[in-house]
């Protein structure tokens, strides 16, 4: 499937006026006819948009997973829905890192709690001292 919005230089949530203008401006006659048929009828546009969203999601997933040149994508929607392979963003590794962080924080916690208690006691004592030595109003 082609990304008609991209080919018309529009954003997918463009309103009808912008759409009509872009279609009128389009110089490719076949693309113009297709866009008018598909996007200017509400029921068709709704269905097209749903599939457009799914394909954009799949394109994003494929870019993150390094599947932009896999056989089923290459021959089909790759031209319009492929994103450039971005920085390797493995969710799994990120999850593992966060688990490690959480585990380390968990192991450190008793010490930190002790420090907090000392700090709290010190403030209490300071408050009491101030109360005693400041002259009453």
């Amino acid at each position: 499937m082609r990304d008609l919005y991209q080919r018309l230089h529009l954003s997918p949530d463009a309103d009808e006026a912008a759409l009509a203008k872009a279609i009128a401006r389009c110089e490719h006659s076949a693309l113009k006819a297709d866009a008018a048929t598909v996007l200017q009828a509400d029921s068709r546009r709704a269905e097209y948009d749903a599939l457009h969203d799914t394909l954009s999601d799949i394109g994003r997933l494929r870019a993150r997973l390094g599947l932009t040149h896999a056989p089923y994508w290459r021959a089909g929607p790759a031209d319009d829905f492929s994103l450039p392979p971005g920085p390797p963003g493995s969710r799994f590794e990120e999850w593992m890192q966060r688990l490690n962080l959480a585990a380390r924080a968990h192991n450190r916690r008793p010490g930190r709690r002790g420090a907090l208690i000392v700090l709290w006691l010190a403030t209490l004592a300071g408050g009491a001292m101030l109360g005693r030595y400041l002259p009453p109003f």
Partner: protein
Amino acid sequence: MTAARFSTFELLLLQSRDQADSAALLLLAWVLTQQGPVGEAERAQLVSLTGAFRHGHALEPLLEIAASQDLGAIQLAAEVLQKELHGDTARAFLRLAVTLAAEHGEPTLANHHVLRFLADLLGVSPPEFAELYASQVGRALREPGDPSRQDYWQRREQRARDRRRETAGEEKRQQYTQEQADKRDRAETESPRATRTEARRQAREERAEAKRQRQQEKEQAKARQQAERDAEKRRQQARREAEKQRQRAEREQARRRREDERAQRRGGHREQRRDDESAHRAHERPAAPDPRIRSALTVLGLEPGASRGEIRKAYRRLAQAHHPDRFHQEGEAIVASASRRFQRIRRAYDFLMKVS
């Protein structure tokens, strides 16, 4: 803590007794939501299909995540599956996904793409997947339609009209026979004069009906001719474009061949040295700093830091494999997609030759 909180799906994975099964369940729920609204029947189908799973947590939160299209969770599930499933287990999972999507008729277009994504994810090649699909649901795997084109909607709406007319025709016929029977009954009891006027009226009605039908057919024929003419025009245009692209590609190839010959005449040893040099340079900085270089290398299927010689070799191999002329027999759409692939490969090669 600065890191983000754990998401619902991450917590579920931590609870799960079998992470691969949890991840598979989320992706199956995703397939299910692409098929339409998930009701009690669909839920029951998913539960019965995944009876052997050992995740040991509730299904509801997974269905919610799938319904909200949470890409982060889906990506994590896909990575878990990619790590855990190989060979037969991967194929078993794909069978489940195919059953969910295609058991009650053709899968939705979205699911056509989701299933192909899952096949690519698990490293199942297209011929293998087509075979698996056919053996699972007893129909061949069809190419998904293209709703960005006019003729997709024309064909689909024509089909819907035909179906409506068929059912309407069926009803009319039933009504008609019923009326006839009624009339016969009445005629038997009424006087002969009444029968005659009744017969005349009937004949008139039949004539009007026949006229209406003829008119309808004429309109249909006109619409069909118009559609055919449009399609022919589009086909011709596509052919012209493909031809233009092919000529451009040929010119480009001829130019490159001439350049290569010139370079060879200038002396093989110099080229050899250049290859060595660039390999040396690549060694010095193994990670290509420019993301454009990296993506161009990915198009040619190379690792960062490939040498000029490797790039040229990869380009020759890919250009041969994807040259549009090879697909001449297989129809315009395939030729057009091949020429797009070919252009992408060529652009990547030109770019790499310019910068390295």
